[in-house]
């Protein structure tokens, strides 16, 4: 046999041998196929059985299916609505949309307030002051151990037990707290405000551009041009000029007692106020723990090293500690935001008309339980998914970039 002849098996690129599945339990591929067919088969069979029963039951009870009811007149009285609504004329679709908006409203405001309160309490727990640390610790321990629903019912009855409008607790003629809820002055919104706000948002964009430019300049030259003069100009001075140029309107509408109730002003209904209070105080107790453990996760050496470099304590917090703490804080914070949003569904127990409450009324009136529940689930899944996506994006932005 000659050495020069090349073995044909070596010359040809060696293809991965296509292994055939053997019909034997000893073959892992075969096993996995059998298992999957079995499990998926069982699940499909159960699902088919349930669907079959449901369609028989629906037919027997003469319940319509489909989302045709969305176009019918709802006739559900709704106390709080961000868009105009008339129970006698508007449809179930509009009513459900109001429910979604109400849910989003309480979720957004709740998340903002709970974050602020929770952060303050979390920092308070780390205070060198013994009294403050113990008090915030007590707050966290107690509120976490009481079911949220019990807290909501408690706040709701407390608010209902307040004196009537005539004996309302008040701060001068500005704010009134009575069993009709919290009344605050409201700014009369005019075109000038809209324009000023628009200029402010444009200013945000300009500031963002400026920051990016400063970053690039710093990377190129090592010198960072100051951004703040531009920021002050476009965020504060320019909007104020626009507002002043349009006549500087500033009219506050104060709540005033007329007869048995208040007229005008901004109203936080007892249901809304109780829900907000309960959600914020409860969620803040969880956020406080997250913030505390996040700050504690930053090693003491980081503080000491920054002090050794001569950084001010504000700069240490902003540039050294917070960026590191945020990496620990953000993932659990996301789940707290999701929890708050889902917990806002407890509104149904105290009569705030969120999406669950309105969908529940709808399904009681129309009998279309499946569509009602499906709507609730779709709304919450969408919200949950959006919050997760946003927080994942934020988390990726602040994550440690390793080479």
């Amino acid at each position: 046999m000659s050495d020069t002849t090349v073995d044909p098996r070596l010359a040809a690129p060696r293809a991965v041998p296509k292994r055939r599945m053997r019909l034997s339990w000893a073959d892992p591929v075969f096993r996995s196929v059998v298992w999957q067919v079995l499990i998926v088969g069982v699940v499909v069979a159960i699902a088919w059985y349930l669907i079959h029963n449901t369609s028989t039951n629906l037919a027997a009870r003469h319940i319509a299916t489909g989302f045709g009811f969305l176009g019918r007149v709802a006739g559900i009285p709704i106390g709080e609505s961000m868009i105009p609504y008339d129970p006698a004329a508007d449809t179930y679709g509009t009513a459900l949309l109001i429910g979604v908006l109400n849910t989003l409203n309480i979720a957004v405001i709740g998340i903002i307030l709970a974050t602020i309160l929770g952060t303050l309490i979390g920092i308070g727990r780390l205070s060198k002051n013994w009294l403050l640390a113990k008090l915030t610790g007590f707050y966290v321990e107690t509120l976490r151990d009481i079911p949220l629903l019990l807290q909501l019912l408690f706040w709701y009855t407390v608010l209902q037990g307040l004196p009537g409008p005539k004996q309302a607790w008040h701060i001068d003629d500005i704010a009134f707290l009575s069993n009709r809820g919290l009344k605050l002055p409201r700014l009369e919104w005019q075109t000038a405000h809209t324009w000023a706000l628009a200029v402010f948002f444009a200013g945000l964009f300009v500031t963002w551009l400026g920051t990016r430019r400063a970053h690039r300049r710093q990377d190129a030259t090592g010198v960072r041009p100051a951004v703040w003069p531009v920021a002050v100009a476009v965020l504060i001075v320019l909007p104020v000029i626009v507002w002043a140029a349009l006549g500087a309107p500033f009219v506050l509408e104060f709540p005033a007692l007329r007869g048995f109730n208040f007229q005008g002003g901004l109203t936080l209904a007892p249901e809304y106020f109780a829900l907000l209070l309960g959600l914020v105080t409860y969620t803040a107790s969880y956020i406080a723990e997250i913030v505390r453990s996040g700050i504690q996760a930053v090693p003491q050496g980081q503080w000491e090293a920054s002090r050794a470099l001569g950084l001010s304590s504000g700069a240490i917090l902003r540039w050294i500690v917070l960026p590191q703490a945020l990496r620990v804080i953000v993932p659990p914070m996301t789940s707290q935001y999701l929890n708050l949003t889902k917990n806002s569904s407890l509104a149904v127990a105290i009569g705030y008309q969120d999406v669950v409450s309105i969908a529940n009324t709808t399904l009681n009136q129309t009998g279309q339980a499946i569509e009602g529940i499906a709507f609730i689930m779709a709304v919450y899944l969408t919200i949950s998914l959006s919050i997760s996506l946003f927080m994942n994006w934020y988390n990726a932005r602040i994550a440690l970039v390793e080479r």
């Binding site: 029963n53 002051n129 009294l131 019990l150 669950v356 609730i376």
Partner: protein
């Protein structure tokens, strides 16, 4: 921190010496460390004293513990109405505590739910002790849960038959939470394993869908589903009662959350364990049952306890679908006309029960975490 060898100003040195012992020194360091700290201490101290004094005055000094009853047995709450605002009316609790704790269970038979509550507490304590963490514990759980079912329902051993319509109060809360955890646990283990079964993509997809959908919606949606959709799912003629429907909803809900916790434990386990088991030629189930799960579950016991605390609180949501748990019974007690305006007292009483259970469990969870960490760090 030692200051040896570092130049320390004299003032600082004396301060360190002063602050090293005694109550005064402690207060100086922890309450009056700086101007800012002193201000906070004074302000908070004032507020706390005011609040504590107010609470003591309202809850103890001016409180009313019993009220007279009319000939027909109706409570006469006139003195409570007078004291309203200045003194607590604990009489509502002394009058209604049996109703709140045991619901509409026949009065003469209420020793049965009382024993059930004690059995539950005993079960928690025994399960919490590490020396009982072995296979026999499973038998104990089966026996105790069966005993609880027999005690509540009756019908055997000369116990009178009491249908679920009469069950209520604390036993319902404990049943929902404990049976929910017990039955969702095996489900959660299977789902967690399924989610990691990369060789079974279809099974993995099913598990991911189940976990993410349940975790993406509020518990109320799941409970509504159980109360209004479940009857539609069943063939005609079969009627599953309300409590069982809520229990099934709870099991499905808890399963998704527990599965995520258990998955955390599975992920934390070094891959070498599974590889070594494979190298020994163990089958998948043997590997899982004897190598993976015992270690993975041990890792996640503290988060499991925390999740259980969450479920315990979440059982209160069944109020919304009309099941008579502890919180619902509190509301029922408040619907009695003479007591209608004393909700604060009732809610505080309910909160005390929930706090007692949750605080004990979270304390336990934390001490366990410390113990397990110590064992791991060694």
């Amino acid at each position: 921190m030692s200051d040896a060898g570092i130049h320390v100003p004299t003032a600082a040195r004396t301060q360190t010496v002063v602050a090293s012992a005694g109550l005064v020194a402690w207060a100086r360091l922890n309450l009056f460390g700086s101007w800012w700290s002193t201000a906070v201490t004074l302000l908070l101290g004032y507020i706390i004293l005011r609040v504590v004094a107010g609470v003591v005055e309202w809850g103890l000094i001016h409180a009313i513990w019993t009220v007279p009853y009319s000939a027909t047995g109706i409570a006469d709450t006139a003195i409570c109405q007078v004291a309203k605002g200045t003194g607590a009316c604990w009489a509502v609790l002394t009058d209604k505590y049996r109703l709140i704790l045991f619901g509409r269970y026949p009065y003469a038979e209420q020793w049965r739910p009382a024993i059930v509550v004690l059995l539950f507490i005993g079960l928690y304590i025994v399960s919490g002790m590490r020396r009982f963490w072995r296979k026999e514990l499973l038998v104990v759980w089966v026996v105790v849960l069966a005993a609880i079912g027999i005690l509540m329902g009756g019908g055997v051993f000369g116990l009178s038959d009491i249908t679920e319509d009469y069950w209520g109060g604390l036993p319902i809360t404990l049943i929902l939470a404990t049976f929910g955890a017990a039955f969702s646990f095996p489900l959660a283990v299977l789902v967690a394993l399924g989610r990691r079964a990369t060789k079974l993509p279809a099974v993995k997809l099913l598990c991911v869908l189940y976990v993410e959908i349940i975790r993406g919606v509020p518990l109320i949606a799941v409970l509504f589903m159980a109360s209004v959709m479940f009857p539609l799912f069943m063939p005609a003629g079969i009627n599953v009662d309300k409590l069982l429907r809520a229990q099934i909803a709870f099991i499905l809900f808890a399963g998704a959350y527990l599965a995520e916790v258990i998955r955390g434990g599975l992920q934390a386990l070094p891959a070498g364990q599974a590889e070594a088991a494979d190298a020994l030629g163990l089958s998948y189930w043997k590997k899982t049952a004897f190598i993976i799960l015992p270690q993975a579950l041990r890792l996640v016991i503290p988060p499991l306890v925390n999740t259980f605390i969450g479920f315990f609180k979440d059982t209160s949501l069944v109020l919304i679908i009309g099941i008579f748990d502890l919180l619902t019974m509190g509301k029922v007690a408040l619907s009695d006309p003479p007591w209608q305006s004393f909700s604060t007292e009732v809610y505080l009483g309910l909160a005390a029960v929930y706090i007692a259970f949750c605080f004990a469990m979270s304390k336990y969870s934390r001490s366990l975490e410390r113990d397990l960490n110590r064992a791991r760090d060694r």
